[in-house]
Subunit: 246 residues, 2 copies
Amino acid sequence: MPPKSDPFTNSVWLRPPRTRGEQPSLSREQIVRAAIELLDAEGLAGLSMRRLGTRLGSGTTSVYWYVTNKDELLELAVDEVMGEVYVPEVGDTSWRIGASVLTAGTREMLLRHPWVIGLLGVRPNYGPNAMRIGDRTVALLSAAGFSGLELSHASALLTSYAIGSATTISAMVTSMRQSGMSMTEIAAKLEPRLERIASEHPHYAKWRQEVGGAAYVPERIWDESFTFGLDRLLDGLEMWLDRPDR
Amino acid sequence: MPPKSDPFTNSVWLRPPRTRGEQPSLSREQIVRAAIELLDAEGLAGLSMRRLGTRLGSGTTSVYWYVTNKDELLELAVDEVMGEVYVPEVGDTSWRIGASVLTAGTREMLLRHPWVIGLLGVRPNYGPNAMRIGDRTVALLSAAGFSGLELSHASALLTSYAIGSATTISAMVTSMRQSGMSMTEIAAKLEPRLERIASEHPHYAKWRQEVGGAAYVPERIWDESFTFGLDRLLDGLEMWLDRPDR
DNA sequence: ACCTCCGCTCGTACAGCGTGCGAGATTTCT
DNA sequence: AGAAATCTCGCACGCTGTACGAGCGGAGGT
């Protein structure tokens, strides 16, 4: 027997914020904003309901009047930062540039708020901002020549790449932050281990020699790598659009 | 001042398992296996050190002899399941099929062990299996004609897509499991909301009409979507390889 | 044979977590 | 004025990761 109240019919997005007058000292919006600040500063583990209460200057459990539980608060926070993603208007640019801006923007948002990444795999997002992005993405890809299921496949390809790319980088940035070292310092510490690994993995060793230390230079390479992949991906989509037999 | 012992020079992979004779009733290998079983069955939240101890038939904190903390255990678990990913030998197939098998295999591994997804963004992986995959991927792409930084860009593109694609699907599967409903049941519950959303988002509404209910049929569509994206992506890479001016 | 040490197990304890509950305060409606 | 709604929050429960140190059994040295 399914639970009496499931998360699909009983969702945050269907419930109006619990505030009518101007009196109350808290509001859903303010709570979400404070939560995002905590999350940005200290990551998922840094957000506890107690700390959130303290930061808002209220009691430990006051937040529970506006939000039924922590999961729901995170759902609100995720959609809030989704609002930072800009999807170009149809007609403002070519679809290629439009898709490029969308994908890069999504990736950048995820890198600004790395805690989102850990939440994306847990529950799908039906918040208003996610929906707005979806709608405008349809417009963009539709104008490009996609339709039906292929349109959603193309859209999934773009967002998957943005998410995956951000995930890899987030892992490194997080470990940088936690260790308090720069990427080059980490590379130096890792050096002997990588050397030993190279001695057991001939192909890796050969590649390592080809690129020298270049692979461990920080952000610039990550951006280059993302752009390279994005260009290949857009090439592939364009090629499909140009196919006579589709 | 950085911490005295950082995670890069002092890593699980550099410390031999704490066992010499045959006496002890526990072993690192056995612990990791049990942890993975718990994680597969109940997700990240389902693994606690106490439950792990109970499942192994030992005391609450016995595990701490073999593993310094939970994070390290998770690191071991992640690399263990990385061992399930098969990277085709060079020469066995074309590079295209090789890359295809690698990417699909990674995605399938992630869908078998969805908890891995939540961990990928937290810390990079330098375990032996990750290294083996890396080495063989270099071999594969090197034989295809990639070299230097472009090789690692191409490799990043493939794994990013595998990760991102698995993330989206994992979100849906997880929410299916938690609600105990099938995807079609969820779609039915969601229907009125989506309809209202469609009424406010014209492009989405138009697309919705195009595909009808097809978009909410479960796994088959997901696989089709992944394959579509993968093919576009490989087309793009192939195109780059064929460029005269690279 | 005894002692010492080492590898290993695990009970206890502590600080922190999410949150259900209900008492209380305050504002609004009748 | 009295009742009802709205909102705040202290307390308590059961859970978490893990530091610490007591205790156990077998191996090696004397």
